[in-house]
């Protein structure tokens, strides 16, 4: 079946503009995760959704970052007033989140964000 998809694949924006990044998880996956990968860095956790709620937002770097998920499916990550340090690849992952099970996450291809 279809994997996790993300759009756009690339986004170039000017400092101070707002951007929206979209993630379509695998159908039926209840858990959705956003990560950020900067050049030469490991993946950095941003936020986790279980259904439409976000029990863990601890990784969001500032209040300029927000995310929502609707219908237990699509998620949008919004970055307001973008800064150059926001430039990175933003990765989305989803998982079945079976009760008591081991959580294997399936990643999308990412959105490469460049802030000029």
């Amino acid at each position: 079946g279809a994997g996790v998809s993300q759009s756009p694949s690339n986004k170039v924006t000017e400092k101070g503009k707002d951007v929206e990044l979209r993630c379509d998880p695998i159908s039926g996956h209840t858990a959705l995760y956003w990560y950020r990968q900067s050049l030469g860095q490991g993946l950095e956790f941003l936020i986790y959704f279980q259904g439409n709620s976000a029990p863990d937002k601890s990784g969001l770097p500032s209040d300029r970052f927000s995310a929502e998920r609707t219908g237990g499916s699509v998620s949008t990550l919004t970055i307001q007033r973008t800064q150059q340090e926001d430039s990175a690849v933003y990765l989305c992952a989803s998982s079945l989140q079976e009760r008591g099970g081991l959580d294997t996450q399936y990643f999308g291809p990412g959105t490469r964000l460049t802030v000029l």
Binding site: Q50, D56, L91, Q97, R99, G100, L102, D103, P109
Partner: protein
């Protein structure tokens, strides 16, 4: 602070040899550990998972070991092929159910023909 370390230098080996990648962690007690492969411009792809009470796990040409005393996992690719060239990431999870994956920075593997 919690730390996951993978060799940042690329590992260059010849086709047919065994590649061994290392993942060390400190100040962490993971319930399980995962290894992912990441190709340029792509998201990570899950390869193997090993629980804290398992010493070794195998899947085809892949083998993972987990030593909770040494706080180390080793990832082996036997009979390596040029197609195995990629960045390999280890990730730790504290418990079952939801836990955010904490990733190492990855090690780039280059397999020469």
């Amino acid at each position: 602070s919690q730390k996951i370390e993978q060799n940042s230098e690329a590992l260059n080996i010849q086709e047919g040899k065994t590649a061994t990648l290392t993942c060390n962690y400190t100040n962490y007690s993971p319930a399980y550990l995962q290894w992912y492969r990441q190709d340029p411009g792509r998201g990570p792809v899950f390869l193997l998972l090993i629980r804290e009470n398992e010493k070794e796990k195998r899947k085809e040409r892949l083998k993972v070991t987990f030593d909770t005393t040494l706080k180390q996992s080793l990832f082996h690719i036997t009979a390596s092929q040029p197609a195995d060239s990629a960045t390999y990431l280890c990730a730790l999870v504290r418990s079952t159910g939801f836990q955010k994956l904490v990733f190492g920075t990855g090690t780039r593997l280059l397999v020469s023909p």
